[in-house]
């Protein structure tokens, strides 16, 4: 029987002085992942953009729980998005989109 895929949703903050598009952002994520883990690693990650608001510099991506640490590493290694200096910080991680936003709300309200 096929094993159920356990997913992880990551809320991300895009730290950059310039505006980047969602496509440019995902290209940078894929490119960083490919550089560090190759095509085989990238094929296991199941990366997908779930939500993004580039004006608020916020994005949500999805991955598989087994590759969460690899995704974190790849995101931390990003220094440029389309040749514009940038950094991506993980705000929070969760197993469902609903709990991700809940966590994010409590995190932001405590700040």
């Amino acid at each position: 029987m096929l094993k159920k895929v356990r997913r992880r949703y990551l809320a991300l903050e895009i730290d950059s002085d310039e505006v980047v598009s969602s496509k440019e952002f995902m290209d940078a994520v894929w490119s960083a992942f490919l550089k560090l883990y190759g095509e085989y690693g990238a094929s296991q990650a199941g990366l997908k953009l779930i939500d993004c608001d580039m004006e608020k510099r916020f994005a949500v991506i999805r991955t598989v729980h087994t590759t969460l640490e690899m995704v974190r590493t790849a995101l931390a290694s990003i220094t440029k998005i389309e040749n514009k200096p940038a950094a991506i910080h993980v705000l929070t991680v969760s197993g469902t989109v609903k709990s991700l936003y809940k966590k994010l709300d409590t995190k932001l309200s405590t700040l």
Binding site: S16, K35, L36, E69, T73, A76, S77, T79, A86, V90
Partner: protein, 244 residues
């Protein structure tokens, strides 16, 4: 108890105080509680005090740090004699094997660091690790080159770091992971530094210790030693005067 995260190697331009201020605020936002900035040896007490005030405002603890780049082991000993009581953290950038060996065995050295782009000058082998294990020196790894280098250079650096981290682990030399950055956009959260440390096979627990327990222990130990009440490890003056 909440874990304290530290970045002992921030390198803003010492002439640009605004940049230092921005980096301190950023460090606070990213979740660091203790930071150390690489300062020139002739940095005055007033300037250090000014940085401490900015850190206080940003709710960050500040430790003064000096990076020594001696050419000979004799030069290293002389610098240590002059500077040990002025700075809370002393790091030695080892550019020759003699200096590396001297730094590893000298109990006044807190951190040994190696050039990240000149791979022939990375002398942290098993002999160096053995010497460091008998003294107080920790092995510092800067994350900046992992972010800035690309392709073959990064592959080579990762391979060397993996070997060095294994030597440090075998001889129980504490590893300190620092950012080593001079720009805000290259600063990373502690959790992100630990994720990057996995690239050179540091397990999760050791990586977390490398950004929290190990750097905090260095600063705590040195503050105790620099206190006027310190006599010897474990001995401090509790009360003074005629009635003692």
């Amino acid at each position: 108890m909440k874990r304290i995260y530290a970045d002992l190697h921030m390198c803003p331009n010492s002439k640009d105080s605004e940049q230092a201020e921005r980096m301190i605020r950023k460090a606070s936002e990213l979740g660091y509680y203790l930071i150390a900035m690489s300062l020139p040896p002739n940095f005055t007490e007033e300037k250090i005090q000014r940085l401490q005030n900015i850190c206080e405002e940003a709710n960050v603890d500040f430790a003064s740090r000096v990076d020594l780049k001696p050419r000979t082991s004799k030069e290293l000993i002389n610098s240590l004699r002059k500077l040990r009581r002025r700075f809370e953290v002393i790091a030695v950038m080892c550019e020759s094997k003699h200096v590396a060996r001297q730094a590893a065995k000298d109990r006044r050295v807190d951190l040994v660091n190696f050039p990240s782009t000149d791979f022939r000058k990375r002398f942290f082998d098993r002999a160096e690790a053995e010497l460091a294990s008998n003294s107080l020196a920790s092995f510092e790894i800067d994350i900046k080159p992992l972010l800035t280098l690309e392709g073959q250079a990064r592959i080579r650096l990762l391979s060397i770091l993996r070997r060095e981290a294994a030597a440090a682990r075998d001889f129980r030399v504490p590893i300190v992971v620092s950012s080593g950055v001079s720009e805000e956009l290259l600063m990373r959260k502690p959790r992100e530094l630990t994720a990057l440390a996995s690239l050179f096979d540091l397990d999760k627990a050791s990586a977390i210790e490398a950004v929290s327990k190990n750097p905090v222990a260095i600063v705590k130990r040195n503050r105790e030693k620099l206190s006027p009440h310190f006599v010897a490890p474990g001995i401090r003056i509790v009360r003074g005067g005629k009635d003692c």
